[in-house]
Symmetry: C2
Subunit: 154 residues, 2 copies
């Protein structure tokens, strides 16, 4: 098996969040890649958890779950932003896509203002929606679906 290899990724834009509005602002060069995204209701936003892009955060392998006292889980079994590659992904409801301006208005996102964006992918049921799902018992009683406006910082 090969060992660890290193790859380079780049910010394609930044998340702007404030006064209850969320806007993805892409760098000009990437705006044409938005073509037809307005035909989707939801987009998967891949973002860089930049606060955790440091050797300490990236070496954490297990964590105590705040919502399941006494449980230690691997970072691949939870959504902690500290992980070996701090790539986060949030499914978001699209309000408006403006290809000319390179912007996407969203209902909500759980990322801070100024967060770098890495990628966007339209949400497709045949790829992304699973009918029969089993999750750990600490999620018992949580909603069966994403909230209508998605998950925000609140």
């Amino acid at each position: 098996m090969p060992g660890t290899e290193t790859y380079q990724i780049h910010s394609i834009g930044y998340i702007h969040q404030g006064d209850g509005e969320v806007t993805l602002k892409l760098l000009k060069a990437y705006a044409p890649a938005l073509r037809c995204l307005d035909k989707y209701s939801h987009v998967m936003v891949f973002w860089w958890a930049s606060k955790h892009d440091n050797p300490k955060s990236r070496s954490i392998m297990q964590t105590q779950l705040p919502y399941a006292p006494g449980t230690t889980a691997g970072v691949f079994a939870c959504r902690a932003e500290y992980r070996p590659n701090p790539i986060a992904m949030t499914v978001c409801k699209i309000l408006k896509v403006d290809e000319a301006k390179g912007t996407v208005k969203l209902a909500k996102i759980d990322a801070f203002d100024g967060t770098p964006i890495l990628d966007l992918k339209g949400y497709i049921p045949v790829c992304d929606r699973v009918k029969d799902v089993r999750t750990p018992s600490w999620y018992d009683g949580w909603p069966e679906w994403m909230p209508d406006d998605g998950l925000g910082l609140d």
Copy 2:
């Protein structure tokens, strides 16, 4: 707005695919991060589309859709592996997790043997499952759910 910034990511392991079996083999250092992943039925596998980690593939912003003749879409509106940051994500059905060995057996994945893995996240309905979805008309008639075993190379 800040300009493009560059970040470093690392392979945490590799996808092994052959004879109808799919196994994620993590590098030893990352095996502890699998703790509790066996409590999930599905995992989102983030992988590096290494064949498209080159300047030409990473500069493609729009593409002709093979399944929608005459339609040009932005790469953020489709799942083309060539995109500015060739990070792919596949939702997969888990068959077996072995933390000691650092392996995860999956039903299927649409990535070639030897593909580098970047991250794993357990699939959680409240984050990842959207009830009311709108997609482009070229997906009319496609399944409303991920197939039971997920999407493979076939």
